[in-house]
C-alpha cells in the first residue's frame, strides 16, 4: 500500500511535467546549459529506439492506450525532457541511461525541435473542408 501511495504521488509529479509537452507552458529553455543536440542523429535514434511508435514520425502524436502528445516543436526544455524520459508517467515507458544516454536524449530533443509543428489550416484546403 505504501508503494501504491508513493507511486500515485510520483505520477502526479511527473504528470505535471507531461503537461508541458502539450500545453507549451514550460519555463524558458536554458540553452546555454543544455547538451548540444544533433538533430540528424536524433532522427536516427527517434526511429531506431521506437519513439515514433507512439508519437509519430512527424512528431504529430498518436494513440497508445490513450491519445499520445505531439512532440514536434517540443516546448519542454531539454533538461526536463531528459528527466521526463528517465521516470516517465502513466503508460509512457521510462528509458534509463543504460539504453539512452543524456547525449542521445538531447539529440532526440534537437530533432523534435527541428520538426515543423502546426501550420495555418487556411493553407490546407482539405482541412478547411472538415
Amino acid at each position: 500500500m505504501a508503494m501504491m501511495r508513493t507511486s500515485v504521488k510520483h505520477l502526479a509529479v511527473v504528470a505535471a511535467i507531461a503537461g508541458a509537452f502539450t500545453l507549451g507552458n514550460a519555463v524558458a529553455s536554458r540553452a546555454e546549459d543544455a547538451p548540444a543536440g544533433d538533430p540528424v542523429n536524433g532522427k536516427r535514434l527517434y526511429l531506431a529506439d521506437g519513439c515514433f511508435e507512439c508519437h509519430g514520425r512527424a512528431g504529430q502524436g498518436g494513440r497508445f492506450n490513450y491519445l499520445t502528445p505531439a512532440l514536434a516543436q517540443i516546448a519542454l526544455p531539454v533538461e526536463s525532457f531528459i528527466a521526463f524520459l528517465r521516470e516517465a508517467p502513466n503508460d509512457m515507458p521510462s528509458f534509463s541511461a543504460d539504453v539512452l544516454s543524456d547525449k542521445d536524449a538531447a539529440d532526440i530533443h534537437a530533432y523534435l525541435s527541428s520538426l515543423p509543428g502546426r501550420r495555418d489550416a487556411k493553407d490546407i484546403p482539405p482541412i478547411l473542408n472538415q
Binding site: V8, G50, E53, C54, G56, G59, F64, I124, N129
Partner: protein
C-alpha cells in the same frame, strides 16, 4: 428423432449407404488375399474348415423377398420446410461457406427458396460470415443468418461470435451436425459431428438448441430470433441435424410455422426514471456517458432531446452512432470534465469502471477514479440483465448510486418527459448558461483538432490525420457511412461531422483481430440497398487475418471503399513490446521483431486484384492520395468494391 431412424427401430431393413459401404468393405477385404493363406500365417494349428450351413427357411425367405426400398428421388425435404420458416423471419441473407453437413438446407435455399430471403452470401471463411453479420446488423437493425459446417466450421466461426457477443449484436448462427451415430459415414462425418455442438460457443451465445424434429425447428428458429433481437442482444446458435434437413417430409400439413411477435425492449422502472430525472434537473454539472445506446434510428434523436433539454455534456464511447459528433454538447474529446461532474449517467456502457478510471499499465498496476468522491453515478442499461461467468468481458465492478435495469433507448421517452416536467424557469436559465460554456469549449476542441491535423501534413508515411482529412473532403457531400476504423476514435470522430444514425456503427466488441474488413463488408451489404457510400479504414494486421473477404466483395458486387492503413506492423503490440524492453532497460531497438510486417512488405493492391477487386497502392506520397481517393470513390459509386493501400504512420 428423424423418421428414417424411427423406421429402422421398427425393424425395417436398412437401405442406407452405410450398408452398401459395409458390403463394399467386405468385398474389398476378400480381394486382398485368400482366407486360407491368412489363416496359415496366423495360426500354427490349422483347423478343419467347417462346411457352410444350408440356408434355413427364414434366410431363404429373405433371399426371395424384393430388395429393400431405395428411392432415388424425393419431392419434399426438411430443408424446404426450414426455408419456409426462415422466410417468415424476413431474413435477407444467409452467409456461409458450403459444407456437407448442411447440404440439405443449402439445396433447399437455392431451389425451394429461389435464393431469396435468404440469399446466399458465399464466404471463404466462417469468421468472415459471422463478422459480416455483425457489421450488417448494426447498420440494418436486424440480423442475418449464417450457417457453418459441423464442429470445424463452428470452430472457425467462434471468435467472430465472441466479438458479436461482446458487442451485443444479434447474429443467427446455424451449424450442421449428424446426431445419430448410425447415420454417419466413415471418415469426415465422425470428426465433424458432436453430441452437443453448441457447447463450444455456449459461453458467448444467448441461447442455443438442437431441434429433434421439424416442428421443433420451427419453434426454436422463432424463439432464437426473438431472443437474439431482444435487448440485451446477442448471437444465438441452432444446430441442425443433417437427416432432418434432407429426409422427405411425411406429412407437411401437420407442420405449423408459429406466429412471430417481437418482444418489446425492457424499459426502466418508471419510479427509478423519475428519480433519475430529479437528479438530472438538480445537478450542476451532469455528464451523460453512452456507449451502445442507440439501437435504432430513434436512439440518437432521443438522446439529443434529453441533452438539449438539460444543456448537459455528453461523452460518447462510440459503441454506436449515439450523438452527433459536432453537436455543441458533444464533449467526447474533453473527458477531463468528468472530474467536475456531480452526476454521471452511464447509458448502455459495458465497462463503466474502465470509462471512469485512469489506469496505469506499469510494473505495479494502479488506477484512480476520474470523478470526484461526491459525484453520484447512475447506470441505465440492459448489461446486467444477461451475464455469463467464464469470459470476463463484464469489466470491473463499479459502485453506483442508482442502477436502472432497462434498455436506455426505450427508457428515454419517459426520462425526457420526467425531466421536462421538473424544470422551472430558474433551472432553465442555469441550463442555458451551462450550454453556452459547453458550446464554446466544443468549438475550441474542433478548431484544435483541425490545427493538430496539420502536423506532418506533407510527411511520408502519410499521417492518419491527413488520410482522414482528405477522405472526408471527398465524401462529405455524399450519403456516406463510415463502418470501420483502425486508428481508434481519434481523427474521424474529431474531424468529421457525423449526424445520421448509419454514419458510424461501432467497433469489434471483443477486440478480436480480423473484424474490420468482413464487418465493414457486412455493413456495406446493408448500405447497398440504401445507395449509401460505404467507407472503412482497416489495419494491415487485421486485413491479414481475413484477406479473402475481398473475394466475397467482388463476387456479390458489394460497393465498399476499403483503405488499408498500412503501417506495416501490429502496431499496438509494437508499442507494448517497446514498453517491455524499456522496462527491462535492454534491447529497445529490437521491438520490431515479431511485431512488424516487413521483409517482404505486403502489396495489398495486388492482393485485391487477385481477388477481383479494384486496387491501388502502395501510396506513400501524400500528394498522390487525393487523386487515388477520387478514382477509388468513383469505382465504389459505380457499384464495385475498391481497395487503397495507403502507407501510413502508426495512428
Amino acid at each position: 428423432m428423424s423418421k428414417r431412424s424411427s423406421s429402422r427401430r421398427d425393424g425395417a431393413p436398412d437401405s442406407s449407404r452405410r450398408n452398401f459401404l459395409k458390403g463394399a468393405t467386405i468385398a474389398g477385404a476378400a480381394a486382398l488375399g485368400t482366407p486360407a493363406a491368412a489363416n496359415t500365417a496366423i495360426s500354427g494349428f490349422p483347423e478343419q474348415r467347417r462346411k457352410a450351413a444350408l440356408p434355413g427357411p427364414r434366410l431363404a425367405a429373405a433371399d426371395a423377398s424384393p430388395p429393400p426400398a431405395d428411392p432415388v428421388n424425393q419431392s419434399s425435404s426438411g430443408g424446404d420446410f426450414m426455408v419456409d420458416v426462415l422466410k417468415t423471419l424476413d431474413i435477407d441473407y444467409l452467409a456461409m461457406n458450403c459444407a456437407s453437413s448442411f447440404r440439405g438446407l443449402h439445396e433447399a435455399v437455392i431451389n425451394h427458396g429461389d435464393n431469396k430471403k435468404p440469399e446466399i452470401i458465399t464466404c471463404p471463411h466462417e469468421e468472415i460470415a459471422v463478422h459480416m453479420g455483425q457489421g450488417y446488423a448494426k447498420i440494418e437493425g436486424k440480423p442475418l443468418a449464417m450457417i457453418c459446417h459441423g464442429v470445424v466450421g463452428l470452430q472457425h466461426a467462434s471468435m467472430a461470435m465472441y466479438n458479436a457477443w461482446c458487442d451485443r449484436v444479434p447474429v443467427i448462427v446455424m451449424g450442421g451436425n449428424i446426431m445419430e451415430a448410425d447415420k454417419r459415414a466413415p471418415g469426415a462425418e465422425w470428426p465433424h459431428s458432436a453430441i452437443d455442438p453448441a457447447a463450444l460457443t455456449r459461453d458467448f451465445v444467448k441461447w442455443d438448441d438442437q431441434p429433434a424434429s421439424l416442428q421443433h425447428f420451427a419453434e426454436s428458429a422463432l424463439r432464437a430470433y426473438k431472443i437474439s433481437t431482444t435487448p440485451p442482444m446477442a448471437p444465438v446458435m441452432l444446430s441442425l441435424d443433417q437427416e432432418l434437413q434432407e429426409n422427405p417430409i411425411e406429412n407437411r400439413d401437420r407442420l405449423r410455422i408459429p406466429k412471430f411477435t417481437p418482444a418489446t425492449a425492457p424499459q426502466g422502472d418508471d419510479a427509478a426514471l423519475a428519480q433519475l430525472a430529479k437528479m438530472l434537473v438538480a445537478a450542476e454539472n451532469p455528464v451523460i456517458l453512452c456507449d451502445r445506446m442507440a439501437r435504432t434510428p430513434a436512439g440518437m434523436p432521443r438522446l439529443v432531446e434529453l441533452a438539449e433539454t438539460l444543456q448537459c455534456a455528453v461523452i460518447d464511447n462510440y459503441g454506436r452512432m449515439n450523438f452527433p459528433s459536432r453537436h455543441p454538447l458533444n464533449q467526447s474529446f474533453r473527458r477531463s470534465i468528468l472530474s467536475q461532474a456531480d452526476l454521471i449517467v452511464a447509458m448502455e456502457v459495458n465497462d463503466i469502471w474502465g470509462s471512469l478510471s485512469d489506469f496505469h499499465d506499469r510494473i505495479v498496476r494502479s488506477s484512480e477514479p476520474r470523478y470526484k468522491k461526491t459525484a453520484k453515478i447512475v447506470a441505465l442499461g440492459t448489461r446486467g440483465l444477461y451475464m455469463k461467468a467464464n469470459y470476463q468481458d463484464l469489466g470491473r465492478y463499479q459502485d453506483v448510486d442508482l442502477d436502472i435495469a432497462g434498455d436506455a433507448e426505450a427508457s428515454l421517452p419517459v426520462l425526457i418527459e420526467q425531466v421536462k416536467r421538473g424544470i422551472d424557469e430558474g433551472r432553465k436559465a442555469v441550463f442555458e448558461a451551462r450550454g453556452k460554456k459547453l458550446a464554446a469549449a466544443k468549438l475550441a476542441t474542433v478548431e484544435q483538432a483541425k490545427l493538430d491535423a496539420t502536423i506532418g501534413w506533407d510527411a511520408s508515411p502519410i499521417t492518419t490525420a491527413r488520410l482522414c482529412a482528405e477522405l472526408y473532403s471527398q465524401i462529405k457531400d455524399e450519403d456516406w457511412s463510415l463502418v470501420g476504423t483502425s486508428i481508434g476514435l481519434s481523427w474521424p470522430h474529431r474531424l468529421w461531422n457525423f449526424t445520421k444514425p448509419y454514419q458510424w456503427n461501432g467497433l469489434a466488441g471483443g477486440g478480436g483481430v480480423g473484424y474490420t474488413l468482413p464487418a465493414s463488408l457486412g455493413a456495406a451489404l446493408a448500405n447497398k440497398r440504401h445507395g449509401r457510400l460505404t467507407v472503412a479504414i482497416g489495419g494491415d494486421g487485421d486485413f491479414m487475418f481475413v484477406p479473402s473477404t475481398l473475394w466475397t466483395a467482388a463476387h456479390h458486387q458489394i460497393p465498399l471503399l476499403y483503405i488499408v492503413h498500412n503501417n506495416r506492423a501490429y502496431h499496438q503490440e509494437y508499442m507494448y513490446l517497446q514498453a517491455m524492453a524499456a522496462r527491462h532497460g535492454r534491447g529497445i531497438t529490437n521491438a520490431d521483431i515479431g511485431t512488424t510486417l516487413k521483409d517482404p512488405f505486403v502489396d495489398y493492391a495486388t492482393v485485391a486484384k487477385g481477388f477481383g477487386v479494384y486496387g491501388e497502392g502502395p501510396i506513400s506520397d501524400p500528394n498522390a492520395l487525393a487523386p487515388a481517393l477520387k478514382r477509388a470513390i468513383a469505382m465504389v459509386k459505380s457499384g464495385q468494391p475498391a481497395l487503397l493501400d495507403v502507407v501510413m504512420d502508426q495512428r
